[in-house]
Symmetry: C2
């Protein structure tokens, strides 16, 4: 054909997200060197440097390993950066109702591009028992109101307003809302809390 596919690809390079800088930003935000990522992905620092500078394109499987090493997802690296506001007036929060239990989730971040933590407020009804969790990362929770029975590994804490907890999420954990009122919990997590589609 008169127009090579190579040229066709070049013509559509505009459509390829500029993931190089996004990868570099995330890597630096995590305090990692090219060598750190190279070891985690079984790729070389030279190649990763080229990927970050847009000189070379990784295969899909390499891209996924890079995303894994950076504790993020393909989707996060490829998507158009979402709008952010550092300052969130309390009456302008994005809110969601989650699940059959009608938990209310108030999103407070991201406050800037490349943020590594996800702040939110969660309202849970009396008696609600959260999912048992265990995954890589860390979390901080401050109880604004209500009462919680927080299970962390084989420890149990009764939390009242003003109490907080900060832990490694690789330890199994869950909590139950005590008493007759809903709990209001301020969370800052290293992984986004899953909100349905």
């Amino acid at each position: 054909m008169t127009t090579s596919r190579r040229q066709a690809t070049q013509d559509t390079v505009q459509d390829t997200p500029n993931y190089g800088p996004v990868i570099r930003q995330r890597r630096k935000a995590l305090g990692m060197t090219l060598d750190d990522v190279a070891k985690a992905t079984d790729l070389t620092i030279g190649f990763l440097s080229q990927v970050e500078r847009g000189i070379s394109a990784p295969s899909l499987s390499s891209f996924m390993r890079i995303a894994g090493a950076l504790q993020t997802s393909l989707e996060e690296l490829l998507k158009v950066p979402e709008p952010y506001m550092e300052y969130v007036p309390k009456d302008s929060r994005q809110t969601y109702v989650l699940g059959k239990s009608k938990r209310l989730y108030e999103k407070l971040g991201p406050g800037f591009p490349g943020a590594l933590t996800y702040p939110c407020i969660i309202h849970r009804p009396p008696g609600h028992v959260s999912e048992h969790m265990q995954h890589e990362g860390e979390v901080f929770c401050y109880l604004l109101s209500g009462s919680l029975e927080y299970h962390l590994g084989n420890k149990v804490f009764i939390m009242t307003p003003g109490d907080s907890i900060h832990h490694d999420t690789s330890k199994p954990h869950f909590s139950k809302v005590l008493g007759d009122e809903e709990s209001v919990e301020l969370w800052v997590s290293s992984t986004p809390i899953k909100t349905p589609g």
Copy 2:
């Protein structure tokens, strides 16, 4: 190294989503042939056949062109299929509050994997004016209650309960909630309605 990166890749093949069958299913659901997709993506039918059968791996840019041809996204093709229920009891719906206007969105689908349409019910407060939209696809809306002023291109319709509208979404459209009560609208769209992450 004694373990080739190819083997390393093979070792992690379990981690690579099984997108081949997902691509084929979506292509067939859209009534497209390999030739149709080949023409849309500037790839060959032999290659696409191999991709769908997991024999060959497309580059990231080719993958994105395939996703485009299939009117879907990388994320949709790569993600673990979401749980689905054909039958949705009215008190078991997933709900979300959207935006500052506090629209309520009740998810009714997908009813099966590979579905091409997205059913939902949307509740909107009095006076709410929707975003002006214009994109590829089609939509059907049935007004359950309330009243709407629906703008489609340069046509305006006053919708009352029981009325419906079904149109090509490439025409510019938006609507406003009339009267003092909220509207309750049943929608079936060819594209997912955006819900904040």
